[in-house]
Symmetry: C2
Amino acid sequence: MHSWVDGLPADALTLQSRGLAYGDGLFETIAVRAGRPSLLEYHLERLALGCQHLAISADHGLIRDELCRYASLLGDGVLKLIVTRGDSQRGYAPAAGVAPRRILQGNPLPTYPAGHAEQGVRLFDCQTRLAEQPLLAGLKHLNRLEQVLARAEWQDAAHAEGLMRDVSGRIIEGVYSNLFLVRDGQLQTADLSRCGVAGVMRAALLDHARDAAIAVQITDLSLQDLQQADEVFVCNSVYGIWPVQAFTSLNWPPGPLTRKLQAIARTLLDA
Amino acid sequence: MHSWVDGLPADALTLQSRGLAYGDGLFETIAVRAGRPSLLEYHLERLALGCQHLAISADHGLIRDELCRYASLLGDGVLKLIVTRGDSQRGYAPAAGVAPRRILQGNPLPTYPAGHAEQGVRLFDCQTRLAEQPLLAGLKHLNRLEQVLARAEWQDAAHAEGLMRDVSGRIIEGVYSNLFLVRDGQLQTADLSRCGVAGVMRAALLDHARDAAIAVQITDLSLQDLQQADEVFVCNSVYGIWPVQAFTSLNWPPGPLTRKLQAIARTLLDA
């Protein structure tokens, strides 16, 4: 499906875009089923938070309308929304009254091997560490060179994801997923106040856990926590949940809480 | 002057650009006088180093040729060169055989108040800190949200630049300049192995200092170093050198080594 820029079909962007010049913007990657964007409110909420942190004055009502119209035409697929601060001449300071731009791109739903969801995935041990930048932590902004470098570390199909630590060695997330551990029936996931992307599937699972009275710890995670975990899984808003079966010499069977949440994630994506 | 993409006039870039999606690329901002790019070898060297670090297999001979042709047509101005990894579908892993893209943009030479070079400038005290990421430190890559946030901290014309520290409090650089201190006739500038942009004017001045037997310390700089400095200046490849006359409650007169190097910088830009 043709992309849209500011609500109109387009396949190109001006070279003056601050998205290109500085990565000055945000994005969302949204699963669309039968014309409906999954986890829409979570995506819009994270985008609004990102715009607030970066002082990008986007029209969120208009974004919602366009996104829903585009999704209904896309049918089934992955919708990528990019919001840039807008266009400007050279220089970090934007021109007064710069107008944010909205870009919508449609892609087919990715087809992953069925084994990823069934038997689980193996995580690559990424050497690229995440820098600690509290001002940008949690946001899905366009400055993603760390993820590009981390994803370039492995080429083999045996690893479906890579595990990223921060520069201090804490376990944070996958390259394109968030990570959860299960220990003694309790969920653990990394605190994302210094780095990392606060995924919308992570947010939806945390909300579900609260409603279902599953204990959750949002905390600093070490390699030792990983070693002591009973179950490990990764999640994102496109594939839902994949059990993690292996990382370096560690192994886990897909466990009961992972399976339970996997079904919840499927429901959330199909809702 | 019209921009070029891959050697041809263009004013737009495909929405598939990894430059837009992830800031997956590098740039150089080059002063051009009478059709000649200033500090050309320094710019090309830094670009090549960046491409090597990011594993972008650009054709550097072609880049040099295009850049020189563009500069000769531009006459006087600022040439911005962007090299992206290329275009690809959604996902951090680029397609096999992805071809880097070369973007050239011409802008007029900026006109700064004459006082900046004569009496010196006042530095704003930026609260945005630079994250420590050794894998990207020194490179002029397209992930520049920290600079965008820092530059947005002040609007008044009384501050021509802002001083940035890293998350550990070390004094690193200006938002769009490098910083030098002078103490007892010796130059000091920040070690940029954890963060910061290794500016080409900084590199050229370091080479000059070596040739002229001026002692240089490339080291971690603290607020105390700044307080104890006899002279302070900022530099970049467009304006050369500006003495720093004030930062918070600190004041410095433009000193003799600053004036000497300012003349050198002018020569380097006009060469």
